[in-house]
Amino acid sequence: MASQKITIEPVTRIEGHARITLHLNDGGEVEKSYLHVDEFRGLEKFSEGRPYFEMTQLTQRICGICPVSHHLASAKTCDVIMGVKPPRPAVLLRELLHMAQFVQSHSMHFFYLAGPDLVLGFDADPAIRNVFGIIQANPQLAFKAVGQRRFGQQIIERLGGKRVHPNFAVPGGVNAPLSARDRDEIAAEIEAQLGVAMEGVGLLADWVEKNRDTAMRFASFSSSYMGLVDEKGGLSLYDGQIRICDPEGKRIDQFKAEDYLLHVAEHVEPWSFLKFPYYRKLGWPQGAYRVGPLGRLNVVDRIGTALANEEFKRFRQLGAGRPVEGSLFYHYARLIELIYALERIEQLLAEPDILSTDIRAYGPATPQERGVGVIEAPRGTLFHDYHVDANGLIARANLIVATGHNNWAMNRAVESVAKAFVHGPSVPEGMLNRVEAAVRCYDPCFSCSTHALGKMPLEVVIMGPDGVPIARAVR
């Protein structure tokens, strides 16, 4: 029986808020742990009755970090409802926007959120264990990182008018072409930004070299993995089929986005708003899987750009023929994807069609009854699924976001780290930060993932040694 409860609230340096509860047994060891998600946004519900073509703008308001992912997943869903295929130049421009978001989001996560643990140490003073501490410790690197995030944001602004919540993708394509001047100005910065990304890889590699045991064991556990792949089994972030691999790395399924409900189900726990998606054929919880950078790089066969593919080969060697399981290697996978995104931007800008003004297709007035769109958001696979009525108004919407897919894994990571590092009721702050760091590996965005109705855990109960509640807080 759990005899004592430690609550860490809020988890710092993740987007949104969460609450972790650790239940200690009589021996002071962690018996159970829960990562609670208490936020509720209800976006699926309040989008009902809205015209489907508004969803590209409405859904991206879920998040200020990865609005582009919702924007594009929604546009792809609306393409289906509209019954059109966007012209190739529009697809290229959408992918360019998408890659820009990967640059700004992945760079921010590594250098702003996760980097402080690695550069300054898990046990550094919390007051400096942040991006501002990195600026003090290594201003040259820090401002390169700040500049890299700005680079990604500026591409988004060039295309969509704003750095956050752009207005660009529309059902059937995009609403503006790319100018030659913008293309050239973006291209001129790629090489320097690749250098910054490689510095990040070097920083991480150096840390892993010095902390190999921690890196390999930290929140390391077996799971299945999910991610989009292209027709050759390569990394694909904008489009493709969904591949699922088992804990041994063996491909167990591959399916089209519109069939996702045949393969993915959602489990609900009473202590979290965030649902727990799982692979239906394996059932709950055996079918739990991981998505995001680690998930993607554990399911793909290759990466279609040179530098990223070379780094990918080194990444896969870590697993020695099996998937890479350690949660800290999410950061490595994230940096490899950052390199890929920059190289992919270079590839896209070299496409002659990228400056074309043939950027939009128009469809019949009568909408399809249902559309499903999928995209790889920086944090993982993102599904948008809309049902519309005869007038094109949303009748029902279902969004499954990356943080939801990783819900089981984040809880598993917290438990793994808590059992290894937390002993007894008096825990040094640095130890608590290790628990938080386990969550941060998954780069969760709880404000994104709590749009679905659940049960609101508004109570905090403090349990005494005899298992009797000694304090209760209601919020």
């Binding site: 600026i135 003090q136 700040v146």
Partner: protein, 165 residues
């Protein structure tokens, strides 16, 4: 505007949330300034960051580290905000010194911390000022309260004085 051969002089950064009533007062001040500087007004979808000139007024939701990189190119910076403190004058003018004030969130930086970031980005201090006008209503609504709307012109005038100093 052709300013390619001239050193960027002053960046005016208005910040706030126009969806929270007077919290968006800086947008009104910025647009007053842009009119006087011969620049088109900003809309909610255009903060002006893509068209930085020698003297430019922009509007952003928050002060963020990336903005410090833009600001570091300028000789001086003026931040425009709204305040709630009744004890302060309706239009407050302060000269800012860089101060390391680590925030709780990366997108909630104080003006003094922002100046510290600008200094860290560029290696030397910039003249920095804060002009703040008193807000009266910060509820979720569009538009300014009459009392705060009356302060927009005086606040813009104060910035113009700094611009021409």
């Amino acid at each position: 505007m052709d300013w390619s051969n001239r050193v960027p002089h002053m960046l005016i950064i208005g910040y706030g949330n126009p969806d929270r009533g007077d919290d968006g007062a800086a947008l009104h001040v910025v647009n007053r300034l842009r009119m006087r500087l011969g620049q088109p007004p900003l809309t909610e979808d255009d903060g002006g960051l893509e068209d930085l000139g020698r003297d430019t007024a922009v509007f952003v939701p928050q002060l963020v580290p990336e903005l410090a990189v833009d600001a570091a190119a300028y000789e001086s910076i003026v931040m425009v905000d709204a305040h709630v403190t009744e004890e302060l004058r309706p239009v407050v003018y302060l000269r800012l010194q860089p101060e390391y004030q680590p925030p709780t969130l990366s997108h909630q930086i104080s003006p003094a911390m922002f100046v510290w970031l600008v200094q860290a980005a560029h290696g030397r201090n910039r003249a920095a000022f804060l002009v703040s006008l008193r807000g009266h209503c910060f509820e979720p609504q569009r538009g300014l309260s009459p009392a705060t709307a009356a302060l927009v012109d005086p606040a813009a005038e104060k910035v113009m004085e700094l611009l021409h100093a």
